[in-house]
Symmetry: C2
Subunit: 405 residues, 2 copies
C-alpha cells in the first residue's frame, strides 16, 4: 500500500458532473489499495469571479481580505468532492488549508509554505478515509488565512507529497502530459514519458502551461516524483523526476516557442563600466523582470544594448526607459513587439557538442534570421521574427528527431 | 464610547452596491465614536445556491461537509464588507467564526454556541478597527467547522453582544421593525417602538419573519437589548427588551395570522388513559412537531382528537397517522389544510381579564367560526377557516385599538 497525492485543477471540477467524474477517478485509485490525499482547486472560474466581485468594491483591496475572499473557492470544492466520494460509498473527509496544518509566512496572496503538520491527515488516512485538501491556501502562526499565489494548488500537492513521503504526486490536468512541442503547432509532437526537473523548469519558464515553475522547484528540492496526466482519459502521462544517466542519451527533450516577450534596444550607449548596471537598476526598480540581454561591444565608443521583457511588464518598462536613456546619456531606444522566442531544452546538451550549431543551421536553412541568442546549461533560446515562430518550432522539432517514429 | 454589535442579513449585502451601502451605514455609527462589531450573512441567495450545488452531487450530503460548504458564504461577505469599509478610509478586519473563537458543540448544521473567546475581537477593537464577523458559523474544540442553522447569523450577533457586553445588538433587516400586524394585511398596522422578549418569542413562533425565536431566547436569557431596524432607511426600529411594568398598560401588542399549519382529526378514539400518549408518541417518532391539541370528552365511550402540525411536516405525519389510528383502535382520521391560525399577543393579558371573551366576541360579530383555541400566559390563538384569516386579523387589530391614532 502506497500513499499517493492527487491534484485536480479548476477545470476538472468546474461543475457537479465533472466533480462526480473526479470522484470516480479517485475511487479507482483507492480501490487499488492506496492511501489517498486529494488536493483540489476552486471550481472553474470561481477565483476570477471572486476577484471581479472585489474589484466592484475597491480598486486596491487589502491583500489580507483578498485571501479571506479567495480561499473560499477551494473550500467549496473540497466539500463537494468529499460528498461525491461519499455518494460512491467511500469514506472521505475535507479539510481547509488551515485545518490541515499548512503553515505559511505572512506574505498574503503569495505566501510561502513554511511547514506542514500532517497529524490530522494521517489520522484520517489511518481511519481509511480519503483526505480531500483545499489547494492554494494556508494559515500563518497567528491564524491568518493566506493564499499561495498562481499555481498554488500544485504547490500544495507537491508540498503535501513531500511532507507525507508520498510515492508520487499526480497532477491531473486537461492535457495528456508534457509534449516534445505544442501539439497545436507541431502535428507529430510526441508525449514524453519522462522529463527531468531541470528540463521541466526550463520548459515552464518558456511558457509551457502544464506546470508552474515553483511547484517543480519544490519537487526537485525534495525529490518528489510528479506525474502529470489527464483527468479526461487513462493515458500514462509524463513523469517529472530527477535526472538519470539514460536521459542524456536524448539530445533534446523538447522545443518551445512563445510570443510573450518584447525586445527593447537602446542605441548609442556609452561604453563605460557601470552603464549597464545603471540602466537595469532603473528598470528593476519598476519590478520588471528582464529576460535576455545582449550587448555587442564595437570599436566605436558607444554600443547598442538589447534586452527582452515580458509583455505584461512592457508598459511599466516603457514608462521608465526614457529615464534610463537620459541617465546614461544614450542616443535613444526602440521597441519591437513582433518577436518570438524559440528554444530547445534537454539535459543531453551537457554531454553532446554541436547542438547549438545544429540549431542555428536548421533555422538558417529555412532562412529564419536570428536576432538574439541566450543559452543555459540545458537550453538554447533564439529570438526571431514573430511570423517565423511556427516554422521555427517545426523545423527544430524535425531536425532533432522529436516526432513520432 | 459604547460597544455596538450590528448584524446585516443576506439581502442587505446581496451585491457590491448594497455592500457599499452597508459600509457607509457602519461608518456612520463608527463616526459617532462607538466601538463596532459587525456580523454579516452570506450574499443574497448564496446559501441556497450552495445547497443546490450539493443537491446536484448527492441527495444525502454529510452534515459535516454541508457545514464546510455553507460556511464559505459568510466568509465571502465579511471579506467584501471589510474591503468596502477600508475603501471609505476606515480600519476594518474580517474574521471567520473559527478565527473569532466561536466555539460550538458537534451538532453539524444546527450547532449550539458553547463559548466565545473574544480576545481577537477585543484586540482589533483596541486598535480602532471595525471587526467584521462571519455569522452563522463556529468551530468545535476539534477545529471542525460548524453552522448554526436557520437564523444563525442573528444568533451570532446576539451571542457576541452578550460576550462583549455590548450596549445593544442591532439587527438590520428589510423592514422597519416589528409591527402590530403584517402591514400587507392590515393597512394601518403600526410599528412598535418596544416589545418584550416574551412577546417577540410568541410572535416569532407565530411566523413573524423579523427574527428567529432562538436569537430572542438568547437575548432574553442574557438580557441583551435587540434593536430591529431597516438597513434601507434611518427609522428608529423596534427595541426588543426585558419586560417593564409600563408594558402591561397595553392590552395587546400585536395580532398575527398564519396559514402554515394543517389540522388532523382522529375520530372515535377510545376514551381510555394512555391513548393520547400512544398516538403522539408514534407521531413524535417521525420528528413531527405538533402545535395545538384539542380533545373533547363526550358522554360516549369514544372521543374526537384534533391537532395541528406544520405543513412542512404534513407528509411525514400522514405517512404514519394510519398506524396511530390502528394502534389505538380509532375509527379513522381526516386532514384539513384550509385553516388559518389567528393570534393575539401581549404581556398586558396577565393583568387584564376579559381579553379572550373580547377576542371571541369580535370574531363572532364577523361570523367567523372558531375551530380550535389554545392559550398561553401572553397569547391566545384560534384556528379558523383559511378564507377568513385576513378578515380576522383586521377585525382583531381594530377591536384592540392597535391601528395608527
Amino acid at each position: 500500500m502506497s500513499l499517493i497525492v492527487q491534484k485536480f485543477g479548476g477545470s476538472s471540477v468546474a461543475n457537479p458532473e465533472r466533480i462526480r467524474n473526479v470522484a470516480r477517478r479517485v475511487v479507482e485509485t483507492k480501490r487499488k489499495g492506496h492511501q489517498l490525499v486529494v488536493v483540489v482547486s476552486a471550481l472553474g472560474d470561481t477565483t476570477d469571479e471572486l476577484i471581479d466581485l472585489a474589484s466592484q468594491i475597491t480598486d486596491r483591496p487589502s491583500e489580507r481580505e483578498m485571501d479571506m475572499l479567495l480561499s473560499t473557492g477551494e473550500q467549496v470544492s473540497v466539500a463537494l468532492l468529499a460528498m461525491a466520494i461519499q455518494e460512491l460509498g467511500h469514506a472521505a473527509i475535507s479539510f481547509t488549508g488551515p485545518q490541515v496544518g499548512i503553515l505559511t509566512d505572512q506574505a498574503h496572496t503569495k505566501a510561502r509554505i513554511v511547514d506542514i503538520n500532517t497529524d490530522r491527515i494521517q489520522q484520517a488516512l489511518r481511519k481509511g478515509s480519503i483526505a480531500i485538501v483545499a489547494g492554494f491556501q494556508g494559515q500563518t502562526p497567528d491564524q491568518e488565512i493566506t493564499t499561495l499565489g498562481r499555481g498554488g494548488s500544485d504547490l500544495t500537492a507537491v508540498a503535501l507529497a513531500k511532507a507525507l513521503r508520498a510515492k508520487v504526486c499526480e497532477i491531473y490536468t486537461d492535457v495528456d502530459g508534457v509534449y516534445t512541442a505544442d501539439p497545436r503547432l507541431v502535428e507529430d509532437a510526441k508525449k514524453l514519458d519522462l522529463i527531468s526537473y531541470d528540463e521541466m523548469l526550463e520548459l515552464a519558464s518558456l511558457g509551457a502551461q502544464v506546470m508552474q515553475a515553483r511547484s517543480v522547484e519544490v519537487g526537485k528540492k525534495f525529490d518528489v516524483p510528479i506525474l502529470v496526466r489527464s483527468s479526461l482519459n487513462h493515458s500514462s502521462g509524463t513523469l517529472i523526476t530527477k535526472e538519470v544517466k539514460s536521459m542524456e542519451n536524448v539530445l533534446i527533450r523538447g522545443v518551445a516557442v512563445n510570443n510573450n516577450e518584447a525586445k527593447i534596444t537602446i542605441f548609442g550607449v556609452p561604453d563605460r563600466p557601470g552603464v549597464a548596471s545603471r540602466i537595469f537598476k532603473i528598470i528593476a526598480d519598476q519590478n520588471v523582470n528582464v529576460d535576455m540581454i545582449i550587448q555587442n561591444k564595437t570599436k566605436t565608443k558607444t554600443t547598442d544594448l538589447s534586452f527582452t521583457v515580458f509583455k505584461t511588464d512592457l508598459k511599466r518598462t516603457l514608462a521608465t526607459i526614457g529615464k534610463a536613456v537620459r541617465a546614461v546619456k544614450a542616443k535613444g531606444f526602440e521597441c519591437d513587439e513582433s518577436i518570438a522566442k524559440v528554444s530547445i531544452v534537454g539535459v543531453g546538451m551537457r554531454s553532446h557538442s554541436g547542438v547549438a550549431s545544429k540549431m542555428f543551421g536548421a533555422l538558417a536553412a529555412k532562412k529564419i534570421n536570428i536576432d538574439m541568442i541566450s543559452t543555459s546549461e540545458i537550453k538554447i533560446s533564439c529570438v526571431i521574427a514573430k511570423k517565423s515562430g511556427r516554422d521555427a518550432v517545426r523545423v527544430l522539432h524535425r531536425e532533432f528527431g522529436l516526432g513520432k517514429a
